[in-house]
Point group: C2
Chain length 273, copies 2
């Protein structure tokens, strides 16, 4: 298949569940002509408390599934999978695979004045220290303060994002970070942008909050451009949504993240891939 | 294999993760000579927000795994799997399979004076109305009030069981139930016994709190007795622990639930079964 046809192939985007829709939303906004196939691994969500070996295995299965949809590039819209699996799976496929951590780290390094950067993420993302490694590669004198916030995902998923107990949980997890010199903080989990306004209010205007989704979509645009794969059909992209469980719940949640209603989500058995 | 040999075969116990250890603990206490093979599906935990089809598929895989260990009976130490999968999987195997819901319902019916019973559980357990159906079979005039409490599991797993925000979440979920006439409440998820003292304090002494684990172990004893399968070796049982992910985290948590240290937990790939 030449580049002329491949241009019109979809971009694959995946996450452990609904969180990655915050990244998909940004891709749809910045690259409105691209077709997108989104996969949410709702049968095995959450990833943040699971091991590297399993995250790699899950990611491989999802990539095999997305390849059956003929994708021209893959975006790992999940910080945990980007932190633990990207380096491995990137070498195993021919098409470009990008994650959210390098874009997020780059944005933070650009924003920070004093080089002191906070990262909030899942247990697995923080333990991997991937953000720290990438940030220090870009700015060796940076100081990176990571904090795992495992309750943020269930709070968002169970509809507590606007509840005052969430304020309290933010305070429990991030109090120490607030007392440091950070001037920039990365929302290092795709669910966290849904708590963005609360976290911004908590840190006040002296801390810049980075959502890696914006920069990730920019990266995708650049890579597709370099490879001559940008879709220039002139027509709005088409979107397909797949999950490994509970398609209805996903569809309802998706409607609250995306600026339009998701018509249908299909459920597949990801363990078959 | 005759009953003489099968007597010494282990009992298989499984759960989505660590919660089922509250049931295993009770089996070990009441049946100290039984060998136990425990499986925690930590790669796919939690079950409570997932669909019936997937819970049945997960349960079948786990039962196939436990059968490779030569178990003589299986205890589904997970309310969600008991509610959604027990009826199906019970018909597919030769050995006895028991769940936690019938024992829990029976205990509640015995304890209640006014027939008004509360059930706290996962979203899937409550939506299935399995407790309601079983309770009404035992006492047709009973009134059953169910409430899904999805944040309880992450609160326990993330170490917030004794934190004051847990008190607040208990109040958010159970306030309405507290204002009813219930005189008995079932802890309809194996994680919830780890919040037992807080929930007891919340309801006060007029509400009897039922933990199905005790009655489940009694059921197991009765069934093994009937089938001539009670282990009477005179030696303390041996225990094996398997998980589908993050064996170390499981081992650490297990140590806080069981009255002894778990020496080693082995990790297997449950998707291969």
């Amino acid at each position: 298949m030449g580049n002329i046809d491949r241009k019109y192939a979809p971009v694959g985007v995946f996450d452990s569940g609904v969180g990655g829709l915050t990244v998909a939303r940004e891709i749809m906004r910045q690259l409105p002509e691209e077709n997108v196939v989104y996969f949410g691994d709702t049968a095995r969500v959450p990833y943040g408390s699971k091991s590297k070996n399993n995250i790699i295995r899950f990611s491989r299965q999802i990539i095999r599934f997305l390849e059956t949809k003929g994708v021209k590039a893959i975006v790992i819209a999940c910080n945990t999978a980007s932190a633990l699996a990207l380096d491995t799976v990137r070498q195993e496929v021919e098409i470009p695979v990008i994650g959210v951590i390098e874009p997020g780290a780059r944005a933070a390094v650009r924003e920070t004045a004093n080089g002191c950067i906070g990262v909030a993420g899942t247990e697995a993302t923080i333990r991997s220290e991937t953000y720290t490694k990438v940030i220090k590669r870009l700015r060796p004198d940076a100081e990176v303060i990571g904090k795992a916030c495992p309750l943020f995902v269930p709070l968002v998923e169970e509809g507590f994002a606007r509840h005052h107990i969430t304020e309290e949980v933010i305070d429990i997890y991030l109090r120490e970070m607030k007392d440091t010199d950070i001037d920039t903080m990365i929302l290092g989990c795709t669910h966290y942008p849904l708590l963005r306004s609360r976290i911004m209010a908590y840190f006040g205007e002296n801390v810049h909050i980075v959502n890696p989704a914006y920069e990730t979509a920019m990266d995708l645009k650049e890579i597709l451009g370099k490879e001559g794969l940008l879709n220039d059909s002139g027509r709005p992209g088409e979107y397909q949504f797949y999950v490994s469980d509970a398609a209805e719940k996903f569809t309802a949640f998706a409607g609250s993240i995306l600026p339009y209603d998701v018509a249908a989500t299909r459920q597949i058995n990801i363990e078959e891939y």
